[in-house]
Symmetry: C2
Subunit: 219 residues, 2 copies
């Protein structure tokens, strides 16, 4: 635990919610920010808000519709059928170009305005689904760019960077929030909280990780 404050980029999903509790464990003060950018399931913002309210975390939601409309993608444009997995020849069409760049850049400006320079994000490289903006090299480069853009010393924390989904479940369990993360968060592309639809790529990844973790946990 340190005396600093941290801002968590929170989507209401498994990963960022686990990061919220990680931040609460490591920082004296924690606040959270969510974005409405035209994603199919804006209820994830309400879920993020409710989790924050229940755990005493100040919460802000910002409207950034431009993020969803600038680059074509199936996550914000319901006329495009979602890729079930990464195609061999490129990025999955669920990739929203620049999303994590905008999320973290907006978070940085917002945080700086409140005297906060520690940012926490749930991105990870292990199960990264082909999204380039989940990789460690991108995050480190962005950290330097943010520092240079505003002549400040931001620190982007990525507690999940090298964990697989089973490891994320293990971390939630260590933090004493396994049930909260399992029951309250929304990961499913079809908008069903908790264990979700069980069939979409996000649910499969989550479930496989859960089964793998539970197999070790019960021993």
């Amino acid at each position: 635990m340190n005396n600093r404050s941290a801002l968590v980029v929170l989507s209401g999903g498994q990963d960022s919610t686990t990061c919220l509790f990680w931040a609460k464990h490591h920082f004296k003060n924690v606040c959270a920010i969510s974005y409405r950018y035209g994603q199919h399931h804006e209820q994830e913002v309400q879920i993020a808000q409710a989790i924050c309210a229940e755990h005493g975390v100040p919460f802000t939601a910002l409207d950034v519709p431009l993020i969803g409309t600038l680059g074509s993608n199936s996550l914000t444009d319901s006329t495009i059928p979602m890729d079930a997995e990464k195609p061999a020849d490129g990025l999955p069409n669920t990739f929203v170009p620049g999303r994590n760049l905008f999320f973290l850049a907006i978070a940085a400006v917002y945080a700086r305005e409140h005297g906060v320079f520690d940012l926490v994000t749930g991105v990870g490289q292990t199960d990264y689904s082909g999204y380039p903006d989940c990789r460690d090299a991108f995050i480190r480069s962005l950290n330097v760019t943010l520092n240079l853009a505003m002549d400040e010393q931001f620190r982007i924390h990525t507690p999940l960077m090298w964990l697989d989904k089973a490891g994320v479940w293990a971390l939630a369990d260590e933090l004493g929030v396994f049930d909260v993360v399992r029951e309250r968060t929304l990961t499913c592309y079809r908008g069903i909280p908790g264990d979700g639809c069980g069939e979409c790529p996000a649910c499969k990844l989550r479930r496989d990780g859960l089964q793998k973790y539970l197999a070790t946990r019960n021993h």
Copy 2:
């Protein structure tokens, strides 16, 4: 001249307008993008649009009000008196935190959507007024960050990076657009096109550079 296409981030001021003509000289196809972000003088967007229309350049203007409201600054908040110069202890309050980061990140996503990977911006380090996001190190770092964010190969061009204002006038003259830049662009913080009010920091910088250039031009 090369066969590629370039997207110019255009504000309708002296610097970015000079860059527009630099791009027309070096690229086969040129398009331009402007932003409405709550700046006092949104007429600069109309000026940018008119210059593009007169010179056959496809033009887009996007609304990004969040840029102006995220961080407090005197350029978008008329209740804050503008600093006339950089204070000894920090950044001038005309600094809009993250502005060039957002401008170029949005331009990159927009450009990629149109198959364009060359971006042109009028930022420069020589007369940079204390804005950290005008420096070369920031631009180079951002270029890497954009490439990593989208797994692409963007090239950010900064033809004015090492020029002083007299040098920018000289470049416009070389490109045959001295009169267009002098008469049509808007630099003045008070919103007066061309030679402007002559008294605000932006007008002074522009005028001093013009006088310096004209002194050498007439020899």
